[in-house]
Symmetry: none
Subunit: 403 residues, 2 copies
């Protein structure tokens, strides 16, 4: 559908309506060989089906025809950000996931602690999956001992063997190739510039790696650092600035918290489960306009190729729908950020069922909430990027365009 | 849908086919609380339903997902003009509505005659809704007595308390704020530039207002002028130039006549009703390629929140369909420029049912003409801007693209 950058922002107005997104990660599926139905079609979902019959349904195309999105583009689209223009590098997403306050002078990269032998060849790419506590101790050692002239160096623990490295300085570039050879028996690759203007930054990161190797030489396991997903940070206009939405993120996984953080949502501390997320949403109902509820079980089971597990995950989430409706959101959207069919054990390009419930929803022909029925819905097939404008419109938060 | 500016124009060819648009303003609707059907679904429309079963049906998105269009963008889209690129200011639309021949050196603005007290505060924003005759007398007085150095001044009666003011000169800007304070008890606001380059134009319009106040000082009611909707005119390429269509507008309301005038249609004098419009179309059948039939009752009843009234308006228009078909148009399009659900008492963002009838129409699954059935139609959901290319194609007026 037509896309006019800046048009929606120019029409946004404030009111006291509430918008809730309930995102079931990787929701869309595929039939497997021996059955003709997808996970969502097999699952018994009385609440979703009943709601679908009173809502506008459709199918979201996360990025473009045939394109399988990562979680970054998947979520950027749902939040009304063009997923290609706003494609975010892994390093930046990792930083955002732990709430590291990046600036526009930063290049961020994901690191792994690894174990190398005397010749410098990797013998364990994850340093024996060292504990998070050990990671913290080693990161502290790096912070105290590694100095790269001309830039500030930040070293942060993520989890287990994973860390974040950020260099802050002038004219840095993120166009650098990964140093992780993705195999054992090989030495880490030197930091290599992918474009001429990244040569200087490559030398700075190489200095970091060389010093880190010296500082960690006496470590029994974490005696090397490999780097992948270099990315220069470009600040995003916030969801509050663009759409006048004070927004609360209720997601537990760093990746999704990261995207929400990048678009300026408030990030609630990690909660044990979806019911807790819904309870917190109700407690904070007056303080925000937009609530981002995220559940990861649908994606994890799909990634595991576990059809029955994904069916069970969907059925479990279905049971929470009445609790969300109790809050009486003016607009409730239920969808996923992409499909993760268990038949593929991975993300896929298939469109994702979506349901938009509000008192101004036109009701189409969908008689249940699944891939086939949503195709008969009033929303048709639409880019994920169009979802937020529709949510704002149904919440009466967009003014008329033109005379 | 993909959009390639200039492509359609490069493919246009002439023949003697006839295209008719029958536009029911604000056609799309919503269910209201106590019923599950929209106005169009409740209305008994045997002619539209029968025609839908022999036509390609679909849903038009007037501008973009979630965007509620004014009548200007709504109609620009239907005529094959991008509704955002060609967004037209209120002043220009008002001028076009009375057939004022604007040039590219003009800034136009809508005016109200108002009554102010001795301190200059507005006591009646519409000067007691003075008669059109009185308006004409006062406009003449302004024309004869107000002179602004460096520009030509045009003052035209619109209707009752409404007038049009146009300044014509070099380097004028329309980026000016309204002077109408939209309330009584306050003085009109000074003319204020919204951008630095509009400062000079602001001073010229202020001179107009100051002189008008002096000239009208002895008027009992119309002793002041307020201005809103300043707009610089940018001439549009005509529908004849772009699509080789000699076009006749059969619409009675200034707004729709205005858009048709801006795209270079011939504007027929106002007629008493739709049957007269259809009769004139048949009389002029040989002289034009494209006929724009417009009915406003569907929008007016929707704006009034009158569900039953809108149902009745639709049923009344349904009865005219056989008369239009008698003319044997090669392509008949029936749709609206936007939705005006009586549940909202206003324009809305919801897609609009559309029917395209021709001997080359592919028949889809729509069994009646309404929002739900059109979603099953052969056209799918499409931007309004794509409608004219489809009408031209079905009229065999587009050549093959490429070898």
């Amino acid at each position: 559908m037509s896309y006019y950058p800046g048009l929606i922002e120019s029409l946004v107005t404030k009111n006291d309506t509430k918008i809730v997104y309930f995102i079931m990660d990787g929701l869309g599926g595929l039939p497997v060989d021996d059955r003709r139905a997808t996970e969502l079609e097999v699952a018994v979902t009385p609440n979703l089906d009943e709601l679908a019959r009173r809502s506008s349904c459709g199918l979201l195309v996360p990025v473009a025809a045939g394109v399988t999105p990562g979680s970054g583009p998947g979520h950027f689209g749902l939040f009304g950000y063009d997923p290609v223009e706003n494609n975010v590098g892994r390093g930046v997403l990792e930083a955002a996931g732990i709430g590291f306050p990046l600036t526009d002078r930063d290049v961020a990269v994901r690191g792994n602690f690894a174990t190398v032998d005397r010749e410098g060849k990797i013998i364990d790419r994850r340093a024996g999956r060292l504990s998070t506590e050990e990671n913290q101790r080693v990161c502290k050692k790096l912070r105290e001992n590694v100095k790269v002239p001309g830039v500030e160096v930040f070293v942060e623990t993520v989890k287990e063997h994973r860390l974040l490295v950020v260099l802050r300085g002038d004219d840095l570039s993120g166009d650098l190739a990964d140093t992780d050879p993705q195999t054992t028996g090989a030495a880490p690759l030197p930091v290599r510039a992918l474009k001429p203007e990244a040569e200087a930054t490559a030398r700075l990161f190489q200095q970091f790696v060389d010093q880190a190797a010296r500082v960690l030489a006496d470590e029994p396991r974490a005696n090397m650092v490999t780097l992948r997903g270099f990315a220069k940070h470009k600040p995003y206009p916030s969801i509050e600035k663009r759409f006048q939405l004070r927004s609360l993120c209720l997601a537990n996984y760093p990746m999704y918290r990261g995207v929400a953080f990048l678009v300026g949502m408030e990030i609630h501390p990690v909660l044990p489960d979806v019911p807790s997320q819904i309870r917190v949403m109700k407690e904070k109902w007056a303080d925000y306009d937009f609530f981002f509820q995220h559940a990861a079980t649908t994606d994890k089971t799909g990634e595991d190729g576990n059809f029955e597990g994904k069916v069970a995950a969907i059925e479990e989430l279905d049971a929470f729908v009445p609790e969300i409706l109790q809050a009486k959101p003016d607009v409730l959207v239920i969808t996923g950020d992409h499909s993760t069919p268990s038949a593929l054990s991975s993300h896929s390009w298939h469109p994702v069922p979506v349901l938009l419930h509000s008192r101004y929803s036109r009701i189409g022909g969908a008689t249940a909430f699944n891939e086939t029925e949503c195709a008969r819905g009033a929303l048709g097939m639409l880019p994920a990027r169009d979802l937020m404008p529709l949510a704002l419109a149904h919440a009466r938060r967009l003014m008329k365009f033109g005379a």
